[in-house]
Amino acid sequence: MLILEDVDVYYGNVQALHGVSLRVEEGEIVTLIGSNGAGKTTTLRTISGLQSPRAGKITFCGQRIDGMPAEKIVGLGIAQSPEGRRIFTNLTVRENLQMGAYLERDKSKVRERLERVEALFPRLQERASQPGGTLSGGEQQMLAIGRALMTGPRLLLLDEPSLGIAPILVQEIFREIERINRELGTTILLVEQNAHIALRLAQRGYVLETGRIVLEDACPALQKNPQVREAYLG
């Protein structure tokens, strides 16, 4: 479904990604783990079109998407819940969700998606008319994921959904991510620093180190890998 081939990304003169290649198949949950500054967020930003690769190829369902503007890529069915959530604090929770369906002209489809998202995260329905900025960190994360789902994606990119959130809510959010994959059939590429929880949820994983993919395997194998155990599972 999504294929990255030898992707190089630079910030100015600094190379952030060195020949990154990875693939995500339809229906999978794939995780990308690595420490701070390894290039995880850059990889997602590049897929979403916020960053252009200097070399390499990105294809989504057979179509080249590298170099496309972000808003076009959303239209093709790739949504991202960005790192740090970045919800619109001055809009209400409901308005935040509706922003996600900005490109969808069919009102009944928007309503359908809204119902689905609010069934998934009932808290968002309870707080529908509150300004987004008044939510707790965990609720904001639910809102960011819900907002991304409102675009009606086939592939959902999640950037650090556990960052800065109470452990009990992390469990809840990861249960919902699994439901999104199972019940809605949405393919998921998950970026996480918390390798424990990411490797439990995903089927396959990639390990990124200073801009290079150093390992790729099925998650149970990665969990047993001594290198991974030492570096990421402590």
Binding site: L50, E71, A79, R86, F88, M99, T151
Partner: protein, 322 residues
Amino acid sequence: MDAGVLQLPLAIKLDLWLTDQVILVGLFALLALSLNLINGWGRMFSLGHHGFYFLGAYGAAWLTAALPTGLPGALVFVTTCLFGMLVATAGGLLIGVPCLRLRGDYLAIATLGFGEGVRLVISNADVRVPPGFTVPRVLFEVNSSNLLMYRLLFLGIVILLVVGVVLLIRNYVRSSAGRAMLAVAQDERAAGLLGINPTGSKVLVFLMGSAIAGLAGAVYAHYSGSVAPKDFEFVLMVTIFLIVVLGGLGSISGCILAAFLLRATERGLGMVGGVVSEWWQVEFALILILLMIFRPNGIFGPRELTDVIRDWRQRRRAGSKA
């Protein structure tokens, strides 16, 4: 103003003065509302709004002078106003498309350069437009006996325009495109990830703002009967900006109230000042300083007068119960 006015009874003179003041407040409200659209809701820092006002006024004045005489006055009025609006919008497109990728201060510098530049270029270039020129009266010939009628007519037009723009902004902010504008204003990147084209959204808001400013300029040209570069200097921009900051970025009622307050106090001080008729300079500086200390978000902040009254009532009810 023609000499006949001086011989009019005091009551009529007062009426004339009042209508003139309210019309000017209305024009300032239009300018401030449209700048608020760009600076307040859109969170783009533009300092070139006087340029759009200038383009609207000169566009309308030029077309009025260029059109053959004998056409129906109302038709000429509407056509020239729309033309002034168009010229200002074209100016907005010219400066907006290349510059709206700039942020904060850089955008302010670019728009400031534009606002000052168009005035200086047009008033110095020989483009068949003398630097200042009279605008033929198209609605009806004005003399001392029907001057009040003329002003009342413009008062009606300006009030209508203010109401129209208020409704436009209210509906726009609540629409899908308007919410996209608010989203882009807060976080361009997050908005882009939802399929919103941030530059497109910003250009649209910028063009709406410049079109409204142009329309205000066109109406001003017809109202005053003459246009001159000195009416469009940077101090005008400062005044509009002060109204927006005073009223609150993103507040419609705050904007209108501030336009009224600023104009009224400026006039009042002008009369008290006598010899020193430049008291408004002190006032403006003082307002800005006090504002930053006591109400850095403007009179109402981003809220509306109705919100403030509702809160105040609720508090009073809570207070009487306790």
